[in-house]
Subunit: 418 residues, 2 copies
């Protein structure tokens, strides 16, 4: 696979995140238009509501682009997904006969405001990165008991809050919560002092299911991927999470990147999960390469200052693929719906500079980071801008995700005085 | 408060669950009609879609009853909720001037099929019954460490799966799962052998919120209550739940009773939470009676046999009210939406025959129950019908919930052979 050329010139730059090979799906608005579906090509967005209205995209008897989210397309299933991608590729390729008509429906990305690309039906967060689980387990239980006994047998996950999912660029308000340190006599009500990120990929389920599905079926049901930052209040979590798991610690916000990168665009970057220490039970066994080679990066910028890279890692570091997570999610008969969002779990690599959370990077707050600006950090300070970046590097082209960013605002003065 | 008389004669029986004092809201269909909103009165349902079309109920410029769920009404807020109840009371009271017109829009409950009354946006399950938490904690950690350290300070909860919520009467398929007993060398893939119920109340959030709310505001946001059975696979749970909480063990199904009993109908039965061992932090403190005196019962019927009562308890046994749970749910800024369903947690009383789960009733499977039919049970056997019943007992009238029932079907032969 090499760069496919488009008549949108900016898309032909080998380092541009949105070449014709990518065609990521988002929802945008402009000063003149309400939110609607669009596809990115170079520095431009093709307005798909308009393209459908003009007859340039016509896949079904029913319109697909009347709603400001991608769920309607997702529900149509893989044959329509493939037909849509083929049609968009044909419209946007060099020497496309419809170039003149299509050109009229382009909007500069610079003039667009991005919205959530999908109506998130439910959100599940996994804990499926071995380096992350080992780091966290070592901090809390010691190196010998780092991985829980079930960890190598099941992709451990918990249900999160769909209502907390926001699009990149949304400001994040530092939460209050009930906190109790190990040396405190009693809990107190205070703003979180250990507010953190988690670098994750989000898999978006397109096809519904109503009973157990295989790993292969699960892979077929996934529509695409986004970057995902699972904002986490470590001090709230420490006090609340036993015995039933994280709850308010993870409910403030979950940011996702605005563009859904489709499985088709990522296909050349498929790779295998790591070698298994313990054989998985049949229903969770790998049946093909279902992880992806995607370079990931986290940057942190103190208010008004330049951004420093604080971590670099890769999605292929995960122990379980999103397909394995989705298959496990259905084992009990749990119905899955279009718009289900599955967070991969924090993606850390084996080295210190590849850790996907400040909890790990500062080793529980004991080893502050020094940013390039000279600022020291353990956890997030008010005003900090945290950004996730992701790209799969092809032969002469890039499949980029668009940034997943958020600025952390100070906690409310007192949330119960209004 | 005493019995309010209706021209629907069956509603005037002091033991009928649906007198004029109740007016519970559901969604029903008949052989001749698609699912639509209705209100129960005695043995009948008033078709509210038809009543609105006929001009008998007209609260807004916009129609409220075009959709087959109550979310549209819920979003309107407390003033519309009160106006609707007033109008329905006027239409159905003895000597109502519109009796003749209204009578034409009644459908016998016996001819109706019930559907989910609400589009469940998200589902949260709490663990807020002290007797239940003490029983389970004693079984797993011993009597001295029964309650986790945070339990008396926070209503502990976790996010469940909205997609798993089904209406009473829906058959429940025994799930498969990954199981590993304490003496097993490795996990195996098998049907759950410890499939259980949890007797709970469900609170339905009507008013959205987008930041922390007080306990009083939370009470104001609640639209009504249902009975809720949180079907639980104890063996799946035991292996999966550390460290992030229950996941597939709780995702097979959650049954709710078909009628939403409004907060207004329950108002005469408000009561206080129990005396506190430990003072709650200000934002969670009680500010009025927000539990309810509701008698609860669980019956179990082996296939083709009579039902035996296996537990009797009362909603007032809870340590935290739904209002406290909802307030806690918003502390981190978590947005709540119309259709959020909050399970109370299992409601057990202090005595052995008041325990709301088979786990407790059979003390972890060690003390089988003998049903009135002579059958012995630890957990659920295939074909068993489990039913929750609930009623608040007024002075000469009853506020009933309608049963919450489900038949457990045998596990699929092999869910991956299709």
């Amino acid at each position: 696979m090499s760069l496919k050329k488009s008549w949108v010139a900016s898309a032909n730059n080998p380092s541009h995140p949105f070449p014709l090979n990518n065609l990521p799906y988002g929802v945008f608005s402009t000063a003149d238009s309400d939110p609607r579906c669009g596809v990115a090509i170079g520095d431009m967005i093709l307005d798909l509501q308009a393209a459908e209205a003009e007859g340039l995209v016509q896949l079904n008897d029913e319109p697909l682009f009347e709603m400001p989210y991608w769920n309607e397309v997702m529900e149509e299933g893989p044959a329509v997904w493939a037909a849509l991608r083929d049609r968009l590729t044909a419209l946007l390729a060099e020497e496309a006969p419809e170039q003149a008509k299509t050109e009229l429906l382009l909007v500069p990305i610079a003039e667009a405001e991005m919205h959530l690309p999908v109506a998130v039906s439910e959100y599940t967060d996994f804990y499926a990165g071995r380096h992350h689980a080992t780091n966290v387990g070592t901090m809390f239980r010691g190196a010998e008991n780092a991985l829980p006994p079930n960890w190598l047998h099941i992709p451990i996950g918990y249900n999160g809050r769909a209502s907390s999912v926001v699009v990149s660029g949304t400001d994040i308000r530092r939460p209050w919560g009930q906190l109790k340190g190990p040396n405190d006599d009693a809990p107190r009500w205070a703003p979180s002092a250990r507010f953190d990120i988690e670098l994750e990929m989000g898999a978006i389920v397109g096809t519904p299911s109503d009973g157990p599905i295989t790993v292969q079926e699960a892979d077929d049901h996934i529509f695409g991927y986004v970057l995902l930052n699972d904002w986490s209040a470590r001090d709230i979590q420490a006090w609340e999470y036993q015995p039933l798991g994280p709850f308010q610690a993870k409910a403030t916000a979950t940011s996702i990147s605005p563009w859904i990168v489709t499985k088709a665009a990522l296909d050349p970057f498929r790779c295998d999960t790591p070698v298994r220490d313990v054989e998985l039970l049949d229903h969770l066994k790998d049946c093909g390469p279902m992880l992806y080679d995607i370079d990931l990066e986290v940057t942190m910028a103190p208010k008004g200052k330049a951004a420093s890279t604080i971590a670099r890692t890769n999605y292929k570091e995960m122990y379980y693929s999103a397909a394995q997570q989705l298959a496990h999610h259905t084992t009990s008969g749990c119905p899955m719906t279009p718009g289900d969002l599955l967070g991969s779990g924090t993606i850390s690599g084996p080295t210190k500079d590849s850790r996907g959370s400040l909890l790990e990077l500062s080793w529980g707050g004991k080893e502050p980071l020094t940013l390039e600006t000279g600022d020291e950090r353990t956890f997030i300070a008010d005003g900090d801008i945290l950004t996730l970046k992701g790209a799969a590097m092809g032969n002469g082209y890039t499949i980029g995700f668009g940034d997943c960013t958020g600025t952390v605002l100070p906690a409310l003065q007192d949330p119960f005085k209004r």
